[in-house]
């Protein structure tokens, strides 16, 4: 049984300008201890998917229209607030993109770090601080005893992201959701943080959902990848297969537009046009206007994710019909 099983999740935003279908029928599962990468460009719904699971979508304007997310027998989308509080921050933890703004500048690191322990584990402040100190050391912070009592502004970006990771992992969660945790960091610091997440994952045996727009980050870290476009999963597979032989035209186009995958000086492939307006569903495939291989069938039929092999699935009608 998978650790987390999401079925047909739809999160729509009801605004004055229309209904934006940010997440529109997403189903996936995460096994114990595995790393799942969610890749997509801005606006593809990768963050909203994870925010929905943790009840972090502002409602209104957001509304979860349908779907279930079973985590160890509890439906995260329909459980009571008390049940959600027992899971969120304890068994499922999250780290955010920007370490500069996601720590509270008014509180010492110690207070923020041990807050989840005090809330979820009913231990004394002294024991919590001892655990906090051990955790800071585990994420590789030098002179942790001093850092513990400092304020966030006294640390650099990489250090703050380490504090965020320590905070998320202090309750030993079974699932960690990382939303672009290295996007705001320099490459050498990014390499440190990725290595750290890998190490801690093995140590604690937790599952990780890693959201990113960087295909490079995914390739080294994740067991499985799913590619999102316009609120849907368009392709999913184990990392090696998906990178070596992507099938969906969007994944292929994405790969061809990265400079490091192309010989130097060659004109990069560009995807024509722009992502579709999520408030105006077309009835057909969302990628159709930008797809080189689109046919009339693609415009008329809504494609579903279908398996090509047991570990590889795509939502392209032409691939499913063996035409591509």
């Amino acid at each position: 049984m998978p650790l987390l099983e999401v079925t047909d999740l739809r999160t729509w935003f009801h605004t004055r300008n229309g209904v934006y279908r940010a997440v529109d029928g997403v189903s996936f599962s995460v096994e114990k201890g595995e790393t799942l990468g969610i890749v997509g460009e801005s606006g593809s719904g990768k963050s909203v998917t994870c925010y929905s699971l943790l009840g972090l979508v502002p409602q209104p304007p957001g509304r979860i229209e349908s779907g279930t997310a079973m985590f160890d027998g509890v439906d995260l989308l329909h459980c009571t607030p008390a049940q959600a509080r027992g899971i969120r921050g304890k068994r499922i933890a999250m780290i955010f993109q920007d370490p500069m703004t996601s720590l509270n500048p008014y509180l010492r690191i110690s207070e923020q770090l041990i807050e989840p322990l005090i809330i979820h584990e009913k231990i004394s402040k002294k024991d919590a601080l001892a655990k906090g100190l051990a955790m800071l050391e585990a994420v590789g912070i030098n002179d942790a005893p001093k850092r513990l009592h400092q304020y966030p502004h006294e640390s650099s970006g990489g250090m703050r992201q380490r504090v965020m990771i320590a905070m998320a992992l202090i309750t030993r969660p079974e699932l960690l959701i990382a939303d672009e945790p290295t996007t705001a960091l320099d490459v050498t610091v990014q390499a440190q943080i990725l290595e750290l997440i890998k190490k801690l994952q093995q140590q604690f045996g937790m599952a990780v959902i890693f959201i990113t727009h960087d295909l490079g980050v995914v390739s080294g870290l994740c067991d499985r990848v799913q590619v999102m476009y316009a609120g849907r999963i368009v392709e999913t597979g184990d990392t090696r297969t998906l990178f070596a032989a992507p099938r969906h035209p969007y994944t292929r186009a994405l790969q061809r537009s990265i400079p490091s995958m192309q010989p130097k000086g060659v004109e990069l492939y560009t995807i024509p046009g722009m992502p579709p307006d999520l408030s105006k569903p077309t009835g057909g495939c969302a990628f159709v206007a930008r797809c080189e291989a689109a046919t009339d069938v693609c415009r008329a039929t809504d494609p579903r994710l279908a398996s090509l092999t047991p570990t590889h699935a795509t939502a392209c009608l032409r691939v499913q019909n063996n035409e591509l």
């Binding site: 320099d186 050498t188 390499a191 960087d214 080294g220 990265i258 400079p259 490091s260 995958m261 995807i271």
Partner: protein, 327 residues
């Protein structure tokens, strides 16, 4: 051998840091750019890479004369910009244009595209107000936008389109050099590819010299002819783009190259990463000698003794490391 279009000679840009409220005390100096000597050839694309805080943006702004250099000279086609009068600088401004990182912040939200693009033309008297419309239409076409967008405001465009408008603004005065400071960092990969293609086409077509600043090495390698790697205000390695990335000489460049995640899982799983400990040091209080030595895996005592100069390291290559021969 053509002569360089832009020459930087020992350029330093320092910022004084003051402490205290009423009685300001001099508390130190941030040496953002600390002795950069560099020749830029006409028509070349020079990539400038480094992590945040290494001084690459400050160097760009110093070249543009948006920041005064503390010492050293910036010479554009024989004209010394650092000692020039305001009028002289205004006259060369049109040869030197800039594209900024964030297209959401670099365009005035209250000006239409037409107003944004016509302003430099009219300020510099390049054309009569009656011809401005035609010129602006042509500029928009050059960057791949339809002239009918002229009366729109920046908020009506996507990030990629805004960056095209910013590029059109830079091209308005037919400059000789464009300095692009992280022009694609704020964009999605598919849009990034469009802007990179546009920039390299424009350079080829108009014989532009481009100084391209980015922290993403694969982007810089793709577009540049030569790459300069900066660390803490100094250039530590310089050479032909592919050469520098594939056979880096300086230990910092090696670490930087090895830190880029590769979008190929086979390569990614096999390779050995050079992990740099810690963060880049504060430019307020840089380490003695080679600024990189506290994080360098090859550092020896000699590295903290003196600042290594850029020396020849192979054909067309330069690197600033005293242990170059041994590592």
């Amino acid at each position: 051998m053509p002569s360089p279009i832009l020459q930087l000679q020992d350029v330093k840009t320092h910022f004084p840091v003051e402490s205290g409220f009423l009685f300001k005390k001099h508390a130190g100096t941030v040496k953002a750019v600390d002795g950069v000597t560099l020749d830029v050839m006409p028509g070349e694309v020079l990539g400038l890479v480094g992590e945040s805080g290494c001084g690459k943006s400050t160097l760009a702004r110093t070249i543009m004369q948006l920041l005064p250099a503390t010492s050293g000279t910036v010479v554009l086609e024989g004209k010394n910009l650092t000692s020039g009068s305001a009028a002289e600088i205004l006259a060369v401004r049109r040869d030197l244009q800039m594209v900024f990182q964030d297209p959401f912040a670099s365009l005035n939200p209250r000006m239409t595209v037409y107003a944004t693009l016509a302003e430099p033309l009219l300020v510099h008297g390049v054309c009569q107000p009656s011809e401005a419309k035609e010129r602006v239409a042509k500029l928009l076409e050059t960057v791949g936008l339809a002239p009918r967008y002229m009366q729109k405001y920046p908020h009506e465009f996507s990030g990629g389109q805004r960056q095209r408008i910013a590029i059109a603004r830079a091209l308005a005065l037919s400059p000789k050099i464009i300095v692009a400071d992280e022009p694609v960092s704020a964009l999605d990969v598919s849009i990034q590819a469009q802007i990179l293609n546009l920039l390299s086409q424009l350079c080829r077509k108009m014989n532009l010299t481009l100084i391209f600043i980015a922290h993403d090495l694969s982007v810089v390698k793709h577009i540049s002819d030569r790459i300069a790697v900066m660390y803490l205000g100094k250039i530590v390695e310089l050479g032909p783009a592919a050469d520098v990335i594939e056979r880096p000489r300086h230990p910092y460049t090696r670490a930087l190259v090895s830190a880029i995640p590769s979008p190929n899982p086979e390569i990614e799983r096999q390779r050995q990463r050079i992990m740099l400990p810690g963060d880049p040091p504060s430019p307020l209080n840089p380490p003695a000698g080679c600024a990189f030595h506290p994080r360098c895996p090859y550092a020896k005592e000699i590295c903290s003794a003196s600042v290594p100069p850029l020396v020849a390291a192979g054909p067309n290559r330069e690197a600033a490391c005293v242990r170059l021969g041994e590592i």
